[in-house]
C-alpha cells in the first residue's frame, strides 16, 4: 500500500472524529501527519527524465567467464532527491563482483556511472531496461520509470578444435575442398587409370599400364576433393537428454555440435544446423566465419524441450536439407529412433550419428550395486543391438562415452588417416 494512503486515512479519520466529537485535540493530533503529507506533496519529484547507456566489456564469451558491465545514467530533468536504481539482469546471469542496485541523489544534469561483473552459463542474454524509482526524502509520492538500455551478451558453448572429420556424402559441391568426391580429377588419392589425353601432365602417365599397350598411353587419375553440404541435427528432446537428479547430457551434445560445425566450416563445407527440441530452430546452410557465428549463436540459445509433436524423430523436416547431403545427428538416441533414421537413409542422405552414451553417463553417478550394474548391462545390450541395426541400414553410428574428450574421440573414430597410411590401404 502506498505510504500516503495510510497517512491520509489516519489523518482524515482523526479529523472526522474531531468534527464529530467537537474536540480540537483530535485535529491537533492530526497536524503532524498533515505536515508530513504536505511537505511530501510539495517535494514530490516530477516525472524523471532519464537516459542511460550500457557498455559490455565483451559481447560474446565462454561459460562462466567474467564480463564487466558499465551503466551510465544521466538526469535530464529536475533534481531527484532519492533514486533507487536497479539494473534488471537477465535470468541465468549472476553478479560476481560489484552491485547492480544503487541508491543515490541525482542533481539536474548529473550523470552517475556504476559497474559490476557478471558471469553465467551458456545462453543468449538480452539486457533491456534499468528500473528507476524516484521519490522525495519522505517517500510520500514515488515515481517509477524504466529506462531503456539495450545490450546483448552471448555466452557461447566452448569449441574444441578438431583436426579433420572424414565424411563421404554421395553428392558434393563444385568447389575444391577436402572431401573425396567419388569422381576422377586433380587430387592426392589414387582413383583409377584412363587413356592419356592431350593436356595431361607427363608425370601422370602410368608407364606400367602403357607398356602393355603399344599404341596408347594411359594416365593415372586422382580422386577429386570437394566441399559438401552438411546438416548438423542437435537432438534437444527432454526425454533423451535429461536424467534423474538433474543430470543432463545436453551440454555435451551442444559442445559436440559446436566443435563439429567449427571443423566442417574450417574445411570449407556448407553447414546448416537444426536444433530439434520443443520447436525446430533452423540455421540456414552457409560458409565461413559468419556462418560459424550464426551456428554458435543458435547453439547458445539451444534448450532442451518437451513437445508431443517432436517427441520422436519422425518430424525432422527433410525438405530443409539439400538432397543426398551429409546429415550428422548428435543424439543420445532412444529405441524408437531407428525407423525415422532409416527413412532418412532411404531418402538418399548419408546419415552419421554421434551418440553421447546415456547408459555410461547415468551409471557414472548411480550407486554401483549389483542391481544397477545388471540393469546397465541390459540397457547397454539393447543399445548395442540398436547400433548393429543402424550399421546394417548403412547409418554410420558412433557411440561416444562423454568421459572421453570429444576431440580425442573424433580423432580416434573420424580422423582422416595420414597420407602414407592411406597409400598402403589402411
Amino acid at each position: 500500500m502506498p505510504r500516503f494512503i495510510l497517512l491520509g486515512l489516519l489523518t482524515y479519520g482523526l479529523l472526522l472524529v474531531g468534527i464529530l466529537t467537537v474536540k480540537g485535540e483530535f485535529i491537533a493530533l492530526a497536524l503532524p501527519l498533515v505536515t508530513y503529507l504536505l511537505i511530501g506533496y510539495l517535494q514530490s519529484p516530477e516525472k524523471p527524465q532519464l537516459a542511460a547507456t550500457r557498455h559490455l566489456s565483451l559481447e560474446r564469451t565462454s561459460p562462466n567467464s567474467n564480463v564487466d558491465i558499465t551503466v551510465t545514467l544521466t538526469n535530464h530533468g529536475t533534481t531527484l532527491e532519492e533514486v533507487l536504481l536497479t539494473d534488471i539482469l537477465p535470468v541465468g546471469l549472476t553478479v560476481r563482483s560489484g552491485f547492480s542496485r544503487h541508491m543515490l541523489t541525482l542533481q539536474k544534469g548529473e550523470s552517475y556511472t556504476f559497474a559490476y561483473t557478471v558471469a553465467g552459463p551458456r545462453g543468449g542474454y538480452a539486457f533491456d531496461t534499468l528500473e528507476v524509482k524516484a521519490n522525495d526524502q519522505l517517500a510520500v509520492i514515488s515515481s517509477r520509470v524504466r529506462v531503456e538500455t539495450k545490450g546483448r551478451l552471448f555466452v557461447l558453448p566452448p569449441v574444441t578444435r578438431l583436426r579433420s572429420i572424414a565424411i563421404r556424402p554421395r553428392r558434393t559441391r563444385v568447389y575444391a575442398g577436402t572431401i573425396p568426391a567419388r569422381a576422377g580429377g586433380a587430387g592426392t588419392d589414387f582413383f583409377g587409370v584412363r587413356e592419356y589425353q592431350p593436356g595431361d601432365p607427363p608425370r601422370a602417365i602410368n608407364w606400367r599400364t602403357s607398356a602393355r599397350h603399344l599404341d596408347r598411353l594411359y594416365a593415372n587419375e586422382f580422386q577429386q576433393e570437394r566441399v559438401a553440404d552438411v546438416a548438423i541435427v542437435l537432438d534437444g528432446r527432454l526425454r533423451t537428454n535429461e536424467f534423474a537428479r538433474g543430470h543432463s547430457l545436453f551440454e555435451h551434445s551442444v559442445q559436440a555440435a559446436a566443435s563439429l560445425a567449427d571443423a566442417l566450416l574450417n574445411q570449407g563445407n556448407r553447414v546448416g544446423m537444426l536444433v530439434y527440441a520443443s520447436y525446430l530452430a533452423w540455421t540456414l546452410p552457409g560458409y565461413g566465419k559468419i556462418q560459424r557465428e550464426r551456428i554458435l549463436h543458435a547453439l547458445a540459445n539451444a534448450r532442451t524441450g518437451d513437445s508431443q509433436v517432436f517427441s520422436d524423430l519422425e518430424h525432422i523436416p527433410t525438405r530443409l536439407f539439400p538432397p543426398e547431403s551429409q546429415i550428422i545427428m548428435v543424439s543420445p538416441l532412444s529405441d524408437d529412433d531407428f525407423v525415422p533414421l532409416m527413412q532418412l537413409r532411404a531418402q538418399g542422405y548419408d546419415v552419421m550419428i554421434i551418440s553421447p552414451n546415456p547408459v555410461k553417463f547415468e551409471l557414472s553417478y548411480l550407486p554401483a550395486d549389483g542391481r544397477t550394474q545388471l540393469a546397465g548391462r541390459v540397457v547397454h545390450m539393447e543399445r548395442a543391438m540398436l547400433f548393429q541395426k543402424m550399421g546394417r541400414a548403412g547409418i554410420h553410428a558412433l557411440d561416444w562415452d562423454v568421459a572421453e574428450p570429444f576431440d580425442h574421440f573424433v580423432q580416434r573414430r573420424l580422423g582422416r588417416s595420414p597420407f602414407w597410411l592411406r597409400a598402403i590401404g589402411r
Binding site: 482524515y12 505536515t35 508530513y36 544503487h102 541508491m103
Partner: protein, 164 residues
C-alpha cells in the same frame, strides 16, 4: 545513524503514551506500550517492515483514545509524533538496505534527518499552537477558506486512491 534515530523515535512514541496513560490512571495499559516498542524493534531487525504500518496505526489509535479519555494532550501528541517518526525511519532503513556499500548513504541519511527534523518540529509546533491558542471567533471568510482547503486535500486523496 538511522537505526539509533529509529530506536529513539519508537521509544519516544511508546514511552510518551505510557507516561500519558499512567498519568491518566490507566497504569494497566502503560506496560503494553513498552511491549509494543519491543515488538516493533524486534520486527524491524527481523526485516518484517510491514509491522511498522500496523504499529503506526496502533500508536495513533492509542493517542486518539487517550485524547478521548482526556489524558494529557502533550503526551499524546508526543506519542503520535514518535510513532510517525518511527514509521518513517523504519521505511527509510528498508530503502537504505537496497543501497550498495559504495553508495553515499551518509549523505542520504543526513538529508533525510534534516527533512524529518523539519517535519517533526513544524508538526509538533503547529499542534502545540492549536492546543494552547484558542481562537474565540473565526471570521466567515477564514472558515470558508479552511473548508475549501479541506475539500482540496480530500480531492487529492481520492485522486491518489483511484490512481492506485
Amino acid at each position: 545513524m538511522t537505526i539509533i534515530a529509529l530506536a529513539l523515535s519508537i521509544l519516544l512514541g511508546t514511552i510518551s503514551l505510557a507516561v500519558g496513560y499512567a498519568q491518566g490512571g490507566a497504569h494497566a495499559y502503560s506496560i503494553w506500550f513498552l511491549v509494543l516498542a519491543a515488538v516493533w524493534l524486534i520486527t524491524h531487525f527481523r526485516k518484517w517492515y510491514w509491522f511498522s504500518s500496523l504499529a503506526l496505526f496502533l500508536v495513533i489509535s492509542a493517542a486518539a483514545f487517550g485524547v478521548w479519555q482526556e489524558f494529557s494532550t502533550v503526551w499524546m501528541l508526543l506519542g503520535a509524533l514518535g510513532g510517525l517518526l518511527g514509521w518513517d525511519l523504519s521505511d527509510f532503513a528498508r530503502r537504505l538496505s537496497y543501497a550498495a556499500p559504495m553508495d553515499d548513504t551518509r549523505r542520504l541519511e543526513r538529508l533525510h534527518m534534516e527533512r524529518v527534523g523539519i517535519v517533526a518540529g513544524l508538526g509538533f509546533g503547529l499542534a502545540l499552537l492549536s492546543v494552547f491558542i484558542h481562537v474565540q471567533r473565526l471570521a466567515f471568510e477564514v472558515a470558508v477558506g479552511l473548508v475549501l482547503l479541506a475539500a482540496l486535500g480530500l480531492t487529492r486523496l481520492i485522486i491518489g486512491l483511484r490512481k492506485y
